[in-house]
Subunit: 156 residues, 3 copies
């Protein structure tokens, strides 16, 4: 039997936090038609970035993966707050991940898998798998290690 | 009484310029369904970039904010040219801002607020507030200080 | 008489390759409504990146253009595999190009034209021209020289 995402979160022991407040003149989610755009999320836990600095220098690739996973949890927390329930999501459409990277670090794909793997484990293969772009950048706001934005499709 | 965006521009004394020409094999706006995608805009005024170089090194954060505001004005100039009137816009959906950043500059959110604040002041809180991503990058075309792209929803 | 894209590919002697496999926990194309999102593609030929390193340092701008053109061919290979035929595409909506850039390289627009010119030559001016963003970044996965993602509109 297929589990819905809310049950799956429970089963995995993931408690969605209060979603982080936007750090500027914007909002966390907007909707146009059946698409919901979620603003770029960092790896904050209770308002404090868990990972700062460059992956491949200040952080290992594995810590980068964990940083991306927290971004993913915050994306879901924003969607839960906006939609009321994750069960309205019918497709994780697109995810874009930015990795604060050391000059010689090229493992951005493996880092962003931290968020992608989360989406698959919560929503299942069919709904959770998404198109994606993983990019290395020189700087992120507040020197966070990863930032991820997402587009989902919701039911009418 | 709610002002429409064209009246609001007048009231704020903002005269939209001729929109900048694309600097390559692309066009400034495309539409799919009710979404209009606007190509990345720089801080050009009458064809000349007003701000070049890195924020946090060649420019202050406040100048970066002003650079982002000019990008915002150019985004609106493109939309006005494409749609005929900004009054057709029913939602500023998503904005993505890239900041040409010094190695130790982390104020990308405050910089991109230059465009976000503009959207709110022209379209009002409900229509103008958007989801967003702010990113620091090592280079932008022509060494401009900020580049911003946007997606808006238009009426049928 | 207007040529369809499949005929145009033949006429230009472009044989679409097997599309590259995703290098992580994602898929190459997703659809929401009439939009298809294609994951970021690099300049791989038969699984091997043709261009690695920084444009303006390890590569010339002209090689960067060629790198972007290969990204474009891979984007089309993904779409062909996903849709069965490119003839279902009614609009190239939006393209976002990232250029692995030397510190003093500012020709990102000219580089990404490698993909944009391809889209125009395959789909014609009306369907092929798109909105775009060209960005310089410090790192890309596997040190590839360019990465490009795209959104297209398909017929019902």
């Amino acid at each position: 039997m297929k589990m819905n995402p809310e049950d799956k979160l429970l089963k995995l022991g993931i408690l969605l936090p209060q979603p982080p407040q936007p750090k500027g003149s914007y909002t966390s989610c907007t909707r146009a038609g059946n698409l919901v755009y979620v603003s770029g999320q960092g790896p904050a836990i209770e308002g404090i970035p868990k990972y700062v600095g460059k992956v491949g220098q200040d952080l290992t690739q594995e810590e980068g993966y964990e940083s991306a996973r927290i971004c993913g949890i915050n994306l879901l927390a924003q969607l839960k707050s906006y939609l009321g329930t994750l069960d309205k999501i019918i497709k994780i459409v697109n995810l874009r991940g930015y990795v604060n990277s050391a000059v010689d670090f090229y493992g951005q794909s493996a880092v962003i898998d931290g968020a992608s793997d989360l989406m698959k484990s919560i929503f299942g293969e069919e709904t959770g798998i998404h198109s994606r772009c993983a990019i290395g950048v020189s700087n992120l706001p507040g020197n966070i290690s990863t930032e991820i934005e997402m587009i989902v499709e919701v039911a009418d």
